[in-house]
Each structure stands twice: as C-alpha cells, then as structure tokens.
Symmetry: C2
Subunit: 589 residues, 2 copies
C-alpha cells in the first residue's frame, strides 16, 4: 500500500548516495521502509526515488516493519515517544537528530537569553521559528550529507541495524539486564532534555526546571562528593594527578545467531589498568545515556560521534567511527568528573561479564541524576551574589553561542575548500598537465632535429602538473580533515551548552521569584536562603566547567592549527620542489 509522508525539514541529497532532495512541507510516497540505518526510501511528486532520513519525514502510517511495536507506533520524531524500539532509531538517526530532538521541545536552544550580542547569527536562529538546529545541521557541510566521504545509505550501517534489530528479536522485547532498551526509555526523555525526567517526578512547578535540587529538603550525604577549588583561573574541578586516557582499537566483527546477525566490537584499553575491555557500539551508547542522565545538567556531554559518522564503504565507515569514538572517549577521559565516575570506570575496567552486568544495573539504578548532580558538588569558596551568578551565566551563554557560530563558519568554509580541492582544482591542474604533454607530442612530430631537449622537458613539466593535481586532491585528508574533525567535535560539544545553561537560567529565575513564592507561601523564607546558596553552588559548577572547557579548547586549537599549518607548509614546499625539478629540465639559453 502507498504510505504517504510529510517532509518536516529540508534535506539536500548527497550526490551518488541514492539520496532524494526534499523540501519542508513536501509530501512524498514511501517506497521502502525497511532500508534501515535511519533511512527510508521515498518517491517525490516528480517520480524521483531516493533515500531520506527517517527523522526528516512524518509518516501518516504505522511501520508495518514493527508488528510487535505495540500500542505506540514509532514515528520518526521518536524522542517524544519512549518505546522499547526507540534505541534503534536513536542510535542510527541522522546527525541532526539530537538537535532536532531538542528542537522538538519547542524552545530555541540558544534563546535562553533575550539579549544576544551577535546579531548575524541571531538571525540564523530567528529565521528558524521552531528554533530547531536541524535546519542548520542539515545545511552544515560537515554533517553527514556534507562530508565528502559522507554516506548515510543502507549498506554501511546494516550490520549495526541488524545488531540492534537482532537484539530485540533475540531477547523477545527487552530485559532490564541485557538490552539497551531499558536505557532507551530514559534516553527518550533524556534526549528531550536530560532534566525533564527528574522534574516530572516533582509536583508543583510543572513547567519549570531545577527546583528538584533547589528545594530538595534533604541532600544526600557523604559519598561521591565533587569538590570545586579556586585556582588561578577561578573555580576549577579537582583534577587527578594522573590523567586517565584510553585507546580504542582493533574493531572486530562479531556475530550471533549462527552468523545471521553481525556486529562490530571495539577494544578499549585504559592507561590505568592497561587491560583491554571489549564494547560494542550499543555499550558506548548506553554509557553516553548514563553520563547524559547523570551529568547533563552540569557538564555538556557530547552525543556519540556515531550520529555523524558514516563511511562510503564499511571499512571506511568503521575506521571513521572508531576514530571518532576514540575522540569522544579521550574527551570523556580528560574530564575529571566524568572520568572519575563509577559508571565510566565500570565501562573501562570491568573484569568479566558478571562484573559488567552488576555495574550496569547499579548505574541504571543511580538516583543522583539530572539536576540532583548539583547536590553532590561542594565549592570551597564562599557563596556568590545572585547578580554575579547571573552575569557569569550570561557571559558563558554569549561565549558558547559566539563560538558555535565561529566553529560553524570554519566548518562551512572548510567544507567548500574540501570540495574544491577534491573536485575542480585537481581536474584543472590535470588539464594543464595534459595540455603541456599534448603540445609536446605535437612538437615531437615536427621531424625537426634538436627537438628532443624541449619536448622531454615539456612532457616532464606536464607530468609534474598531473602529480600536483594528485597532491591537491589528497591534501585535505592530511590537514583539513583534522581541522574539520576538531571543529566538528566542538560543534557537538557547544550544542550541549544551551541545555546546560538553560538549567542555570531556570534556577536563576526561580531565585528571582523566591520572594513571590514566599509570599504565596509556596516556599518558606528558609527555602529562599537555601535556593540562593544552591544557585551559587550551581554557578561554581558552571564556572569550573567553563574553565575546564577553555583550557581544553586552547589545547585542542593550538594543536590542530599547528598540525594544519605544518601539513600546509609541507604541501607547498613539495609542489615548489617538484616544479623546481621540472624547471631544471629546460636548457638555459
């Protein structure tokens, strides 16, 4: 039967990937729902058929693909609907999915502050009524559609799709212990925004934020306290002597059900134990969800690279994903709070299957999630004045917003440069090289004696320009790639700040309301004092986190800029040298 669907967001097809360009509001006919990898095959009114990301369209029909899915049919906007099979969609949604989920909350992730200094980019968001980042992400060249190597077609991800799919079948739904789906339920909420879950448990201020913490009568005592010291740069986390680090390597294709279903298993080796542990993508995803639930209100937890990473060929896809999983793990390891947490340690150092399952169960039972993380934070400094708290918060919001624009600009420019360097430019150098060689071979046919010296040199010059064409086409992989990767990572990281900062903004508003609340005897005068103290603790947390962010940012950009320029220097020096040799072949007169 012809299933119709409504296009939610513009999507530009990547040439050669069997994708279909669709416009927001357009109606398409679903021709194949069983593509997988977060994709659906659709046909537009002009009869063109191609792949479209599931999350970009809204089906007017249930998925025949999921007879067992039960009462709530999973629509592409999965984030709204916690359901057993969510994980499938989540794990393989296109890059823009998380942003889109944020968007689906209906508030512009960057609109927490009415006063936005950077006008230009402000318009970007303004021109985006739903405030969804999807529009931007979809247009972002470094997102999967844009990445020169990018590919979201079925092939690349089939194995993982099968993997998850297979899990559902094999576990016949899900059990608390082994399936990622238990996580998925919270994850659905978590994505909507990591705070919502816990708040919904809290009566009264239904539409508000961090009251759960601000007004919590009895904060958990003792264990797992997170101190904040005052360093020379201001509030800082407590950093371990030895920096945790790990190596993600050796991806192995595993299989189950007599090889019917396959999956990729990665080997992660922490520098602490030096003992490798194996994890599949779904375990990384589980870890991400735990970290998001537990720390998301205080610490930006970038979503898993997988959401961006796809390769044109399976090897390339696995290599690229591993490279980005490594980047993600490294960033998590660098964070003193995350790397020190039980859940992270369990992930890195579990001894055996039993140990792992216990750790999982424990982590999933953890109550100190969402805003309650602030209850574990202990600043050594004295409380801050609410005005200062608000100023700091506004400053960080402005900075992260501005940096988000700057990073996206580099990604856009970089992607255009990538396309030029791998497309028209080498073609042109090749044509120059060919033109020299063609003329040279005409000269050879002259029959005039003493021709050879010139023609040999001209042919060599022509070949040199063909070599240069080759070099130009391969250069981006050597330098631009890392510049893009780093900025892409920061784009993901910066995309988390609106939520994190949103919690703080909400808390500050609450404190501002405190007097009214007291008057309306919704809270006691004592509560008001407590709120002020706790919002100060939140501010120290945010400042410590920003200082952590800044020091990492300076390190990362210093490193990547050096690497980029180093490679660029080599590149131009090599070209100059090749041309010098070609020049040497001509006889000086």
């Amino acid at each position: 039967m012809a299933v119709k669907a409504q296009v939610l967001y513009d999507f530009i097809a990547e040439p050669g990937n069997n994708e279909l360009t669709v416009k927001e509001g357009e109606t398409v006919t679903i021709t194949n729902q069983n593509i997988g990898g977060g994709w659906i095959e659709a046909q537009n009114s002009r009869g063109d058929v191609g792949l479209v990301p599931e999350d970009y369209i809204e089906l007017s029909q249930q998925f025949p693909a999921f007879p067992a899915a039960g009462t709530t049919a999973p629509t592409p906007n999965v984030a709204h609907v916690p359901a057993p099979d969510l994980s499938i969609f989540d794990a393989y949604a296109p890059p823009s999915a998380p942003a889109q989920n944020q968007a689906s909350n209906g508030n512009d992730p960057w609109s927490v502050w009415n006063t936005d200094p950077s006008g230009g980019s402000n318009n970007n968001w303004a021109s985006n009524p739903e405030g969804t980042q999807t529009g931007k992400s979809a247009a972002d060249p470094w997102s999967s559609q844009g990445h020169p190597q990018a590919y979201q077609g079925p092939g690349a991800e089939d194995d993982e799709w099968d993997d998850e799919w297979d899990d559902m079948k094999s576990t016949g739904g899900y059990t608390e212990s082994e399936s990622g789906d238990g996580g998925a339920m919270q994850r659905g909420g978590a994505h909507a925004t990591s705070m919502k879950i816990s708040l919904n448990k809290f009566p009264g201020f239904s539409k508000s934020g961090p009251e759960l913490y601000l007004l919590c009568k009895q904060l958990p005592k003792g264990k797992d306290k997170l101190p904040i010291y005052v360093g020379e740069v201001g509030p800082v986390w407590a950093y371990p002597e030895a920096q945790l680090d790990c190596v993600v390597a050796d991806p192995k294709k595993g299989s189950k059900m007599y090889g019917l279903k396959s999956y990729i298993e990665y080997q992660i080796t922490p520098n602490t134990t030096n003992r490798p542990v194996n994890h599949r993508y779904k375990h990384f995803d589980w870890l991400y969800e735990r970290l998001l639930d537990k720390f998301g209100s205080a610490i930006p937890i970038p979503s898993l690279p997988d959401k961006q990473v796809t390769g044109r060929f399976e090897e390339e896809f696995i290599k690229m994903r591993m490279e980005r999983l490594q980047g993600w793990m490294t960033r998590m390891c660098r964070h003193p709070v995350v790397s020190g947490s039980d859940v992270f340690q369990t992930f890195l150092t579990y001894k055996d299957e039993k140990d792992w399952k216990m750790g999982k169960r424990k982590a999933e039972k953890d109550e100190t999630v969402g805003v309650m993380i602030f209850s574990t934070i202990e600043p050594e400094a004295s409380d801050l004045d609410p005005v200062e708290v608000e100023q700091k918060c506004e400053q960080f919001s402005r900075f992260t917003k501005a940096m988000d624009d700057g990073v996206k600009e580099i990604l856009t420019v970089g992607h255009e440069h990538w396309k030029r360097c791998t497309g028209p430019l080498p073609k042109e150098y090749q044509r120059i090289g060919k033109a020299f060689q063609n003329l040279s071979s005409v000269f050879t046919s002259s029959g005039y004696q003493g021709e050879a010296t010139l023609t040999d040199a001209m042919t060599a010059a022509g070949k040199t320009y063909e070599e240069i064409a080759q070099m130009v086409a391969e250069q981006p992989k050597k330098d631009l790639h890392f510049l893009m990767e780093t900025n892409n990572e920061y784009k993901g990281l910066l995309g988390c700040f609106p939520d994190t900062i949103g919690v703080h903004k909400a808390a500050i508003d609450k404190v501002k309301e405190a007097d009214k609340l007291v008057a309306a005897s919704k809270i006691t005068p004592q509560d008001k004092v407590t709120m002020a103290k706790r919002v100060s603790t939140m501010s120290y947390t945010l400042q410590a986190e920003m200082n952590h962010f800044h020091s990492n940012r300076i390190y990362d950009y210093n490193r990547v800029m050096q690497l980029y320029l180093e490679e660029q220097v080599k590149f131009y020096e090599t070209i100059a040298e090749k041309l010098r040799q070609a020049h040497g072949q001509f006889t000086t007169m």
Copy 2:
C-alpha cells in the same frame, strides 16, 4: 528607424563590458551603429541591449553613419567590399575578423588536405561548415571576449577610431600619399586572401591559384634575389650576421584639428641605427598590409596584435597594445626575408617625412607581390621531385594543424585557470583567513587568562591566508600571462598557414594537371617543365620557412616555459614561507 540584423555567429558576452550574448541565426534590432571600434549596439528579442561585434551580424540596412559611402554600403562582412572606409572597419574589427574573412572565401582554411590525421580537431572544423574560424575564435577564451582584461567596448578604442575617422575627414576622402585607405583597397582584397589580387589579373584559370608564377614567361631579373641554402636542418633562408631587433616604446598621445582628434604615436628604435622613428598604429597597419601582399604566399605574416588587444582602461589598453606591437615587430625583425625587405627597412629607418612618403609610394607600387614573390627565390639545391614536394607540403599542413589545436587547448585551459585564480580561489582563501580571525576574536572574548598566545597566533594565521588570497589573485599576471601571450601569438601565426599552404597545394594540383593542359594545348610541354621546376622552388621556400618557424618555436617555448615554471616555483615557495612563519607563532606543547 529600427534596423534589423541577422546574427551570423554565436557570440558570448564578456561580463561587465556591456556586451550582448547572441546566437547564430538570431535577429536583433540595431540600437546604435555609431559605437565604433568594430562594435554595434543591438537589442535582442528579450529586450536586452548590448554591444555585438559588427562582423558577427548582417545588417539588412545601409549604415546611416556613412552617407558618403556611395553605391556599395559597407556590410559587416567588409572584406568582400573594398571601399574607402574599409580601413576603419578592418583596423578595428574583432580578433576573429581576419579568420572570418578567410572563411568568407567559402573554403575551410584547414581543408586543403582531405586526409587529416587528427580526427578530433578535424571534427572541430567539420562542425564548422563555412569553415570559418570565427566560431572557434569566439569560443577561444584568450580572444578578446575571453581575455580577463579583455574589453571590446567603445571607450578603449575611441581615440584610434577618431584617429582614422579624422584622417578620412581631414584628407577629404583619401590621397594616394597620406591616407591608409589606398592601402585599404588592396587590403580588403588582401584579407580576402593575399593571393586573389594578383591572380584575378591573370586570365584563363580563374578559379585557380599560383599560375601567375608557375607560367610566368619572363621572371624579373637580378636585384632582390632571395637565396635558399641547405643547412644541417635542410633548406634555410640566408640569415644576416647581426640579428635585427627593435624596441617599441614611449607611446605618446598626439592630436590634430586643435585637439579635437587624438591618436597614439609609438617610438620604434632599431638596433641597427639606434635612431628612433615614430609611427602611429595606422602605419603599423600599413606595414602589415604591405608585408602580407608581398610575402603572404610564402611567409605567414601574423595579423597585427591590435585585432586582439583591448584593455579595460585606456592606459592598460595602450600598454597591452604596445606589448603586443613589440612582440609583432620582434617576430618580423627575426625573419631574415621580412627584416631585409625595403618596405620593412623604410619603416624602421626613414630619415624624415619626405623619405617616409617616398618609401611608402615605392612600396605601394611594388609589383612583386602575391605568388610573384617566388620568382625572386633562388634555391641552391637541385630541383625536387613533385612527389616529395607534395609529401613535404602534407607534412607541414598536418603539423601546423596539430599545433594549432595544441595551442588552442593551452589557451582554453589557461584561461579557465586564469579565471579560477582571479575569481573563486582567492575568495575562498580569504574566507578561510576570515574564519580563523573570527574564531580568534571569539576566543579573545572568553575572559580566560592565558588566551592571548593562541589568539595572536590564530589571527596571524588568518591574516596569512588573506595574504595568500592576494598572491593567488595576482599570480597569473606574473606567469600565466606570458604563457598565454606566447601561445596567443602562435595561434595568430598558425592561422596564416592555411593560406600559405593553400598556395602550394594549388600549385601542386596544377603540376598534376600539366599533362592534360598540354593535351588541351593550354600550355606547351616547355611550360610543364617550367612548372615542375618552379613548384620545386616553392617547396624549398616552404621548407626554409618551416625550418625558420621550428627554430623560433623551440626558442620561444623553451623561454616561456622556463619563465612560467620559475615564477610558479617562487609563488609556492613564498606561500610555504608565509605559512612557516604563521606556524612559528604557535606555542609548541
């Protein structure tokens, strides 16, 4: 009144030059015929108005601009119609005009041989039924429309237009002595093809070629003989010990009629006398016509650069024209026969106005023009077998044709490269530079201490890429320009060979017919022997000329390739150095 015109050839407008793109067969309305510079303002059916080369359209009306033109109204295809005002059109016709004039003879300039080895380019001509080069020229990027600096609009050439125009007025028509128009009459014919003139005087073989020489009863005796020796490369001209050379410099704007009409006067200083003489463009043009008439059947005389050269601004235009006049003069000086001729010597060394006018008169009276030039040539070697003559001729035809294709390929590729280097590429480097600087200034706003080291370095890196953008945009003027100029010069030179080779082909055909002609007693058996002897002389001439061409070609391409590569090396080394300095600004960690 609305004058309609038929478009004869496709013409692609150069952006920013008020030009109008027109298609062959299209009908346009003439909105202004008094533009000058070989241009007419026209309006197409869509109402767009712009300039179109006169020679590209066929008017269905007389020129109101020339009431005095008399019975034969000059149509854009001026070459057919020798008329006093021809020189105006001729001298300022678009680059393709001469080629087109050849075309208007109705025979493909390259089709002298049915067997054309180079299939690809053969198709080019095949797809060109009129055999006109105009189609190609119009598409050739280095022709005026294509040249990045090119401009055929009225402004640039007004002064010269006025100049010629003024001459006509001032001399009230023309006098044999001072006006270039006397020349123009022959020139009109000369352009149609330099042989026609003399042949038409000769009864009998009306549609044929070089009989005037082949069957001439009494060859002029003594003076001005041109010997051909046999060197190690084969037949060669007699070269002078000292190579003639001259410097074209110091263009001065002169004026007449109380400054109402202006003209440019160039100073030409030969290395023989070291005494400068002054000439206006019209004198160069006169010289060109004399050389074409006298040597055109034996020696390719490239048309004056002016037909290609136009600049966006008057200074640029004058500079560019002078550069190309210098190139043209240098080439003529290098040719032993041309440089030794009376007319050329007169041009370079006349003592005073009286001397110049006498020389002019003498040259215009010269009877040894067209094919009769062969009557002055004396090869030292023994007569060649007609079969060998034909083989040589075919070989030269193939080579010049193939080289013409090779040269045009370089011009096409080079022009595209020029456009990229002056257009999108620098823009991209600039955007990269800006993106780095923008992110750097965001970083500066972080308020985090120890930020400066990174931001200073990033800003410097950004500025470096802006400098690179500048370098990229300016580079073509430093290297590609000369590569293009040389190939452009050779394109012009190669465009002359079809006519020259055509004469030889015609002569060979005549010799083949000789027996029939004897039978039909159109010629005597003795005539037949004479013909064979003379066609051998023609062949020695062609071989000497080809050897001259080859040695010059090898010298020119060796020189220009070296210059190009030298500049390219400098270019890439400078970029590498700039980037190395930018890299040095980052703190190594």
